[in-house]
Amino acid sequence: MGSPLVESQVGAKPNLEVFSSTLQELAETDKDIVAVTSDSRGSGKLVPFGKKYPKQIVEIGIAEQNLVGVAAGLASAGKKAFAVSPACFLTARALEQIKNDVAYSDNPVRLIGISAGVSYGALGSTHHSLHDYAALRAINNLIVAAPADNYETEQAIKLAAASNKPLYLRFGKKNMPLLTTDEEVPFQFGKGRVICKGSDLTFIACGETVYPALQAAEKLRNEQGIEATVISMHTIKPLDKVLLQEIAESTGAIITVEEHSIYGGLGEACASFLLQNQYNKPFKIVGIPDEYTVTGSQVEILDHYGISKEGLSNTALKLLGKM
């Protein structure tokens, strides 16, 4: 395993800022790009976009159902609509619009869930989105993805703008370190990104949880001599079954990590595939248990539920029978 973390890059931008700057860059030449917001241009980092391209931003006000419905109408009339709203509201309040107006009607809206997972921290469970993967995975014709770092974010936005498919992208608010890999392959939805390789176990993570998984892998290697593979499985649907099959055959154990309920998300998606494909080695889903979370900042909440360097390292040791 090489050194996946470059210290000077720790503290890179929040993915959301990269979303905004990438969209702004694309909007310069593509006048069909439209940002649709629900009083969310500030939290979506779209204030500069709105100032530069006032004709390419549509403010809906706080009305998420309408946000998605209008975005579907814009998309069906040829606009590349990016509907930007806090993930908690976008994927719960407007779920029927996502299902019918976007996915079922095949209107290529780019749904951007911001401040996702427990990014809002102590604002509490009304503002947490721990259901979105589960809810959206069950809807046909919708790509569901959570980029891990600034690189994946930029690539995902560019691909989203270029493709003509309904999709949901989920972003948190934290500064995300750039992840480097030994051999970078072009970013594609539905193709997981191997950040580092090791044969003892595999962390399969997505979004902002890839970084703590990587930290845990480093800790395990340095302190225990345990070699872990870390995968950014940025696309929860469609899942990279080819990569999963490879991992199933080569690894000693699998731990999935997500900032989402342990029900219905990345972990259960992987479990479903693995169980149906003769995987019989240790397996553990790490996420938020079935409860309204403890009060705290995002980091405190994740730490509380073991989504941290320490917590994931301990989970790995237990799973391998070494603790």
């Binding site: 439209v34 004709k55 549509v58 809906i60 006000g61 009305a63 159902q65 309408n66 998605v68 419905g69 209008v70 975005a71 579907a72 109408g73 814009l74 998309a75 069906s76 009339a77 040829g78 606009k79 609509a81 029927e96 619009q97 019918n100 107006d101 079922y104 009607s105 095949d106 209107n107």
Partner: protein, 271 residues
């Protein structure tokens, strides 16, 4: 098309609606009969949409928010040549594209609808795109009065007025009945005109079975520059078949063989 020819269309459409509902042994009979005159005028007089221009970005858009009355839409689309009318013999049958709500698998259908309160927001998006691209197509959406309590309608009504979408026309098929009872008893939305006017819309009332009045209303769009337009079409649920008119049981009642014969007889005599 002369006034008389247009009136004959409505009558023929009513007969076909009943034919295919009987064939499918399912359908929204009362509402399809209440909105068919509106659809007749839209497709045979007002809309710039045809099988030939359906893929043109400049075509007018018609989105049926009250998707359950799909039988009315399907018979009109068939008549306009979007697909062969005999396709409707498969309505609601195993593996047919012709399901009980509008679907884009059927040529001529703009959006998959059926869940209520969705047509207006999508129409607002279409109308907004037209304004952004400086295109002059118009957007029409047909809503039922029973779907007005859906909050998404009012969200979209605000947006339509905020963006001064005078290329948008919503039509309410106000037959005053829904599955549980009268709309006034279930959840009173009157006065609809004052509500929409206060939201920034221009509103006209029309007899929804008066073809001439419907034509005139659509000819006068937009009712006011810079405002979205609302046509409140006063209709009769089950219109044209006396034993169905204003009877809630015909919301999705399917005629028996005898009732179907009686209905056809009445409609034929009215031709």
């Amino acid at each position: 098309m002369t006034e008389n020819e247009l009136a004959q269309k409505s009558n023929q459409y009513r007969q076909r609606i009943l034919k295919y509902i009987v064939g499918a042994n399912a359908g929204h009979t009362g509402g399809s009969l209440s909105c068919i005159d509106i659809l007749n005028v839209l497709y045979n007089y007002t809309l710039n949409v045809s099988p030939q221009n359906f893929s043109s970005p400049d075509r007018d858009r018609y989105i049926q928010s009250k998707g359950h009355c799909v039988e009315a839409l399907f018979v009109v689309l068939a008549d306009k040549g979007f697909f062969p009318e005999e396709d409707l013999n498969t309505l609601c049958k195993y593996q047919s594209h012709y399901i009980g709500h509008p679907t884009k698998k059927v040529k001529g259908v703009e959006q998959n609808t059926g869940a209520l309160g969705h047509g207006l927001p999508i129409s607002v998006g279409n109308a907004l795109a037209a304004k952004m691209d400086e295109k002059d197509f118009r957007v029409f959406t047909l809503m039922g009065d029973g779907e007005l309590p859906e909050g998404s309608n009012w969200e979209a009504a605000l947006t339509a007025a905020h963006y001064k979408l005078d290329n948008l026309c919503a039509i309410i098929d106000k037959n005053s009945l829904q599955i549980t009872g009268s709309t006034a008893d279930v959840c009173n939305t009157d006065p609809i005109d004052e509500k929409f006017e206060s939201f920034g819309w221009a509103v006209k009332h029309v007899d929804g079975h008066d073809l001439k009045a419907l034509k005139e209303a659509f000819d006068s769009l937009p009712f006011e520059a810079g405002k979205p337009s609302l046509v409140i079409a006063h209709t009769v649920k089950g219109k044209g078949v006396s034993f169905m008119e204003n009877q809630i049981s015909w919301h999705h009642g399917v005629p028996s063989k005898e009732q179907y014969a009686d209905a056809l007889k009445e409609l034929s005599e009215a031709l």
